[in-house]
Every structure is written in C-alpha cells, then in structure tokens.
C-alpha cells in the first residue's frame, strides 16, 4: 500500500536546523565554561597569602621589640631573621637608616631575590634608634620586607 503523501509544501519530509542546534549548544557550553572559570578563580584559598603577610609584619615587629633592628648590624639581623622565619618561606629585607641631623641614607639587604612569578607579601616598618638611656634619637630607620612561599 503506497504511503499517502501529505499535501504540504515539502510533502511529508521534515528538516532539522542543524546549524541552529549547533550554535545554540555552542553558546550554552561557552557560558557554562565561562562560569566555571569564574567560580574556580574566585574560590581560591587566600588565607595562605594572608599568613605570609602577617608573618612578615610579626617578624619585623619582633625584631624591633628585641632591639635587634637598633644594632643596624647586617649579620646579627640576618641571624635573627633566620632563626624566626619558617624554612619554606623565602624572604628579603631591606634595612635603611639615616643619622639624626644628616641627609645621607645608608642601607643593606638580606635574603634572596624577590620572585616575580608568585604571590609576594610586602610591608614596611619605621623604627627609631636611640642612645643607651633612650634620651636621644640617633637614627631614623625603616625595614622593608618581602616574603613568599618557596
């Protein structure tokens, strides 16, 4: 028995808009991929970076409290930093100072070269160097630090 043909423009044959389907799927996949990337980037744990920052601030403050910075001695300060800082941390310290009443700045640096391919916590603390009975300020100093995870 012959199948009756519909009396329509294209008979009984349908057609699928394959290109439309493909474009629609592509758009949805692109949107899902973009949202995945966005969520992945913004839900990273940042507490380790904050820990780095706090460690740097704490170490510089402790060096100031122990009057280690007042020595302005590179070897002594380097030994103190090495005894405090965790082994898995890289660091660089810049100690600068200026004698009271003078213009000339002196400085030295301790530690490794600061990397540029990872997060580096940085900060600066100002300190005063006084004489033995703390009646006069002899030097105005600053300690700048960079700390990163090795």
């Amino acid at each position: 028995m012959k199948k009756r043909s519909w009396n329509l423009v294209y008979g009984n044959k349908g057609f699928a808009f394959i290109l439309d389907v493909f474009l629609a799927i592509l758009l949805v996949i692109l949107m899902l991929a973009a949202s995945n990337i966005y969520i992945f980037k913004n839900t990273k744990d940042t507490s380790s970076n904050l820990q780095l920052s706090k460690t740097g601030s704490d170490i510089v403050t402790v060096l100031d409290n122990t009057k280690e910075l007042d020595t302005l001695n590179k070897d002594s300060i380097e030994d103190s930093i090495s005894s405090l800082i965790p082994e898995n941390y890289g660091y660089r310290f810049n100690i600068s100072w200026q004698k009271s009443g003078e213009q000339e700045m002196q400085s030295f640096e301790i530690g490794n070269i600061v990397p540029n391919d990872k997060f580096v916590a940085t900060g600066k603390k100002f300190f005063l160097v006084t004489n033995t009975d703390e009646t006069n300020i002899t030097d105005y100093g600053s300690a700048k630090y960079w700390i990163w995870l090795k």
Partner: protein, 157 residues
C-alpha cells in the same frame, strides 16, 4: 473553503526537544554543584577572616578594660604592647572557660590556642587541636618574657 494545514516537522521537534532537555539538565546540574561550592567557600572565608581578626586583637590589643581579669573582661587582649604578651593577661586568659572565651570573641566556633617558645616547648594551651570538618589555624610571632615565642590560634567546627 480551502482548508489550511500547518506543517509539523516531527523529527526536528524531537531533536530540538532532546537538545533542550539535555542543556537544561546540564545547566541545573552546574547550578547545584557550584551553589554548594560557593556556600562552602563563603563559610571557609568567614572562618578564616575571624581567625585572623581575633589573632590580631589578641596580640596587638590590651583588651577592654586594659587591666581586665576573668570577672570584668569585655574584649580579650593579651598584649602589653604590640606583639608583646603580658604574663598576667595570659594567666587570666587561661583561667577563662572555653564558653566564656567564645562569648567574648563573639563566635560559635571551637577555639584552639597554643603559645610555645621558638624551640616548640609549650608555654600555655587552651582547647584541642582542630578535629572538625572545617578549620583554620595560624601562627603569629610574638614576644613573651623578653623571648621570641609563637602563638598558634585556630577556629574550627
């Protein structure tokens, strides 16, 4: 009167419906998956922020009132000056119960506090090391009795 007939492309309709359903399922699955992930991130972020903030108050602040003890404390601070732990305040802190500490810190998280010297010998300790589903523990460098010390502070649940 001429009847007009519409044309339904059945195959096209089925194909389009199938694709739509698949896409809707993908979107719904992605939504629920990332809603859970984002909620977890928000909770962890809250825990992390509180841990850092409370540790800052402990080691930088004298507390309120500045000569607080276990009966009149409003805000707990252990410092006599920035990052210098006061012996009496530390003793008062240890005398507080865990619930009192949580109330004063305005947190429901469990607390872990451990003060050690540089070699790791324990000086004072409160609470148990974290053993929950979510925890943040941080290390802060301080001075105690003119010696360098390490304060570990953590919140967990």
């Amino acid at each position: 009167m001429k009847h007009r007939r519409a044309q339904i492309s059945a195959f096209d309709f089925i194909l389009a419906s199938s694709v739509s359903v698949i896409i809707l399922v993908l979107v719904a699955a992605t939504f629920f998956l990332y809603e859970r992930k984002i909620n977890e991130f928000v909770l962890y972020n809250d825990l992390s922020t509180k841990t850092f903030q409370v540790s800052d108050v402990l080691i930088k602040s004298e507390g309120v009132p500045s000569n607080w003890n276990s009966t009149n404390v409003n805000i707990i601070g252990l410092a006599s000056e920035d990052r210098v732990i006061n012996v009496d305040k530390l003793n008062n802190f240890i005398d507080l119960s865990q619930q009192e500490i949580k109330d004063k810190m305005a947190t429901n998280y469990d607390i872990y506090f451990n003060l050690t010297n540089i070699t790791g010998k324990s000086i004072a300790s409160i609470g148990n090391p974290p053993a929950g589903i979510r925890s943040v523990v941080i290390k802060r460098y301080v001075m105690y009795k003119n010696e360098e010390a390490i304060m570990e502070f953590g919140l967990w649940e």
